[in-house]
């Protein structure tokens, strides 16, 4: 993890402005990184912000520390999914892979975003609430969080990881179109039980007439109607039978 060499630090505070989650604190005329708050995103290190060369990195001790870093730093590639960023292709390749099928709706629940960070215990709460409402959480081959989730049916994470803080992590999966209202309802409830935020993305195959059933429920659930989205215009050649 990044640490500030207290001998070299002159207390100019430049590093504070670059820290993504305000984890660098100024005390006794020097800056220090709060290991409890730091998400291991390495922006302070990569940007070479310190003219004194006081910001150094130490080895990441153990699997969870490495997981924290790989998920928080988008230039790293996730070992299982082989994807940079937070390690998931979600629907970007859906025209080729057929991951989300007709009649299904996917969700990408971007925990800790924008810029707040997330303890894995909060990601667990959200995953469990969704699973209980009939949401099928994505497996390890598709999304990194599943590596910490021994039972995809419950969404419970390995206890040892719960107090690690990441810049963000995605709870991802899908369900049949008929179940999406229950899942969204569960999400609107669990949002009050977490100590962070999540940005919510809803994934759907495009109907020729532009219809998406899930949108009908939004007003009732108090979710604003969307105006931004990510469109896969279907230029990829299908290589899946889905």
């Amino acid at each position: 993890m990044p640490v500030i060499d207290q001998e070299k630090c002159i207390g100019c505070r430049s590093c504070q402005t670059i820290c993504t989650v305000d984890a660098i604190h100024f005390k006794d005329k020097k800056c220090k990184i709060d290991p409890e708050l730091c998400t291991e995103c390495y922006v302070c290190f990569r940007m070479k912000i310190c003219h004194e060369g006081a910001i150094e990195t130490q080895d990441l001790a153990g699997f969870y520390k490495q997981f924290q870093h790989v998920l928080s730093d988008p230039v790293e590639t996730h070992g299982v999914t082989g994807v940079t960023g937070r390690g998931t292709e979600e629907v970007k390749t859906n025209d080729v892979s057929g991951r989300v099928k007709k009649g299904e709706v996917g969700l990408s629940i971007d925990m800790g975003r924008p810029g707040m960070g997330v303890y894995l215990r909060d990601a667990e709460k959200v995953a469990m609430a969704c699973a209980k409402a009939g949401f099928k959480l994505a497996p390890q081959e598709e999304t990194p969080l599943a590596a910490l989730m021994p039972d995809l049916n419950t969404g419970k994470l390995i206890d040892e990881c719960l107090n690690y803080r990441l810049l963000s992590v995605i709870v991802e999966g899908r369900c049949e179109e008929e179940k999406i209202k229950d899942v969204l309802k569960a999400l609107m409830k669990v949002q009050h039980e977490i100590d962070t935020v999540f940005s919510l993305g809803l994934i759907s195959r495009v109907d020729p007439d532009g219809h998406c059933k899930a949108l009908e429920y939004l007003d009732e659930l108090g979710i604003p109607q969307p105006h931004r989205g990510k469109v896969n215009p279907g230029l990829g050649k299908p290589l899946s039978t889905a």
């Binding site: 402005t17 670059i18 820290c19 993504t20 989650v21 305000d22 995103c41 922006v43 988008p74 230039v75 999914t81 082989g82 994807v83 960023g85 937070r86 292709e89 979600e90 629907v91 970007k92 390749t93 859906n94 080729v96 892979s97 971007d110 800790g112 924008p114 810029g115 810049l167 963000s168 995605i170 977490i194 100590d195 962070t196 935020v197 999540f198 940005s199 919510l200 993305g201 809803l202 994934i203 759907s204 195959r205 495009v206 020729p208 998406c212 939004l218 979710i223 969307p226 105006h227 931004r228 989205g229 990510k230 469109v231 896969n232 215009p233 279907g234 230029l235 990829g236 050649k237 290589l239």
Partner: protein, 215 residues
């Protein structure tokens, strides 16, 4: 990875902000995709992106990478991300992709109606859509929306709210221009989709409303 989905701002400002991704699918069409991706990147260049990165590089066009380095770095499985500040550019790129017919997945992120309109104009049938349903949870602890317009342009959250305030302060105290401030903000974005043109416009609008106080 949904790093372009949740950009915030007014509809008017988002009209000048489209992210474009060239995305080979792991386990499906990685093998032999490098020349195809390279051809698609050439099409992107001709359409005039305002930022770009290949996943093989760790820096974007505003953090020390030259356009030809992006092209040279492409190998099997490389994904290329870019951003446009006008509708015509993105339409031009999609038209070129359609004609090239390389079979690699493409994604456009922007105002849904606008993107669908463009798809219709060039005869593309969108396959899948990922729509942003906003931010939920403890939203009262988020930085204010005007600061989030900048920070959400790097969806991974590499642009810190404190950096945005610092840049505003430096512009207000006459140390840098809005454009140079915008380039400072574009630097940490490791995905090359920070839109420095939109950001400079926003800085022009916002700086008079802020004081030069440090935090």
């Amino acid at each position: 990875m949904t790093h372009s989905l949740h950009r915030e701002g007014t509809i008017d400002s988002l009209e000048r902000d489209y992210a474009l991704f060239i995305y080979p699918a792991r386990g499906f069409n990685y093998k032999g995709c490098a020349p195809k991706v390279r051809r698609l990147v050439e099409i992107v260049y001709q359409a005039g992106p305002v930022n770009m990165i290949a996943t093989t590089l760790r820096h974007n066009l505003y953090s020390g990478v030259r356009p030809e380095e992006v092209l040279d770095s492409i190998k099997e499985g490389s994904r290329v991300f870019s951003v446009f500040n006008n509708r015509e550019g993105i339409k031009e790129a999609l038209k070129g992709f359609k004609a090239a017919d390389e079979g690699i997945s493409i994604v456009v992120s922007g105002l849904i109606d606008r993107v669908r309109e463009i798809a219709l104009e060039i005869g593309l049938d969108p396959h899948t859509i990922n729509i942003s349903l906003g931010v939920h949870g403890g939203t009262d602890r988020l930085p204010p929306p005007d600061i989030r317009q900048f920070t959400t342009m790097c969806g991974h959250g590499m642009v810190s709210p404190l950096l945005v305030r610092d840049v505003i302060r430096r512009i207000n105290s006459g140390k840098i221009s809005s454009w140079d401030g915008s380039l400072v903000l574009a630097k940490p974005c490791a995905c090359g989709i920070y839109n420095p043109h939109r950001s400079a416009e926003l800085l022009e609008e916002l700086t008079p409303l802020y004081t030069v106080a440090r935090r």
